[in-house]
Amino acid sequence: MEAAIVIRGVSKVFAGRNGLRVAALEQIDLTIGAGEFLCVVGPSGCGKTTLLRILAGLEQQSAGRVEIRSGEPGKPLTSMVFQETSIFPWLTVKDNVAYGLRMRRVPPAVQEPIVEHYLRLTGLDKFRDAYPHQLSGGMKQRVSVARAFANDPSILLLDEPFGSLDEQTRLLMQEELLRIWEAHRKTAVFVTHSIDEAIFLGDRVLVMTARPGRVKAILEVDLPRPRDLVNLRSQPAFLDLSRTIWHYLREEVRAEEHAGRKL
């Protein structure tokens, strides 16, 4: 598989308060293939989000090299779906979805069909003129997902996009995300704290260590697509993988717990 993202020896140190320096990431080496769906799990505060923000260009790594290979010239490299509600309250659903295209000065006539396509794909077409305050939490994250897809980036970055949703809505959103992703097969990096979610969605699962975040293990998810998320849970392969990931993760979560401190 052709590589879409190559990460070599990436570290990130934050200058904290009182001159304390906090290492968030340490010596990350990772290659992500074009069209691959990679899920990242790790204990809270392990630098998962920092890794995504570096890929998104929102943070600069302290050391190491990140190379993102763009598929086509003219396309944006990355688009991010943020963890918290990040759609603009002052824009309608339609204008939120069109935001990336508008920033790239795509002519309105070209924007229109793209935006309509993703509104329909995410079931938002009836709400195109609504403002975010009129939408439920799930609907808001749909807008956020549609906004990232509509921008047509080489790489999609998703930072626990469904973390704040209730269990049922989350399952629905995972199914929808897979459906949209399977229609477009973009390279995706998905950060989550849920082992189930990581296996549901990913081609591979990256397990990170407690802070400073390092690569603990990378596991292949050998489950056929398209996946039926409801039946997946009872398959032996799913259960095995889930157990393995938890085995790796457990020591790290415990280490984080015993460290017993927050930033």
Binding site: P76, S79, R102, M103, R104
Partner: protein, 261 residues
């Protein structure tokens, strides 16, 4: 439902009755000679002056002169207030450069610099418009900056990650995000403008509601003075209503619950 309706009805009745009672009491005390009508007049006397003054167009002319000064001064203060406020909110460097000057000059009462303004701009229209502009400017500037600083960081991240240009930061994040606070600044500024117009028209004015009030004072014509006060009250009401309407039109995304009242 019946109980709530009755409570609402009672509240509304009280809101109408209490000022009516006050006016009636005032009138009665004036007629009984318990209140000095030379200073406090009485509702009927004031009405007797107000209505002819309105019908002759005299009071409306002076009101119009004041309204023009207020609107011009408001615009001249609010516009740079918004632009500078957005810049100071968005760019720490601009904030660092301008904050000290704002902090030092803001607390100076605007009335205290009126003599200086008169020296610089003379006795004409400019000095009155400028006085109002200065008062409005600070309130709008400070509220706009606070509005931008209060915008959730996430929206700046979103704009950055989607490749927003500097202009896009102003127009798609800072301005809409700060609009509710900008309007709060407008409303405070309007209150200040009404305060300043009266003072500004004290010196070297030939027309205006403020001029009218000071003239009435000179001539000890209490009824004319009260007529102008009623006009000021009406002006304040109209301006704040206009700002409310404008706000609803400019900020359609604001949930209705928070804009009520």
């Amino acid at each position: 439902m019946g109980k709530r309706w009755r409570e609402a009805f009672a509240a509304r009745t009280v809101s109408v009755l209490s000022p009516a009672l006050l006016l009636a009491g005032w009138e009665l005390l004036a007629r009984a000679g318990l209140v000095d009508v030379r200073v406090f007049s009485s509702p009927s006397r004031i009405l007797g002056t107000l209505i002819p003054a309105l019908l002759s167009g005299e009071l409306l002319y002076h009101t119009w002169v004041s309204v023009c000064r207020i609107v011009l001064g408001f615009a001249a203060g609010a516009l740079p207030g918004v632009v500078l406020g957005l810049s100071m909110g968005l760019f720490p460097f601009v904030r660092a450069a301008l904050q000290p000057m704002v902090a030092v000059t803001f607390p100076i009462p605007k009335l205290a610099i009126m003599p200086l303004i008169l020296l610089v701009f003379g006795l004409g229209e400019t000095s009155k418009v400028f006085t109002i502009a200065v008062g409005v400017f600070y309130l709008v500037l400070i509220n706009t900056m606070a509005g931008v600083l209060n915008i959730d960081r996430i929206y700046l991240d979103v704009a950055r990650s989607f490749g927003a240009s500097r202009r896009d930061f102003y127009l798609t994040v800072a301005l809409p995000g700060a609009l509710p606070m900008i309007f709060a600044g407008f409303k405070l500024g309007m209150g200040t403008a009404l305060l300043l117009i009266v003072a500004a028209e004290l010196s070297a004015a030939r027309a205006g509601v403020g001029y009218w009030i000071w003239r009435a004072y000179d001539m000890f014509d209490i009824e004319r003075m009260f007529s102008a006060l009623l006009m000021m009250s009406a002006l304040g009401f109209v301006f704040s209503y206009a700002l409310d309407v404008l706000e609803r039109w400019v900020i359609p995304w604001k949930p209705p619950s928070s804009s009520a009242g």
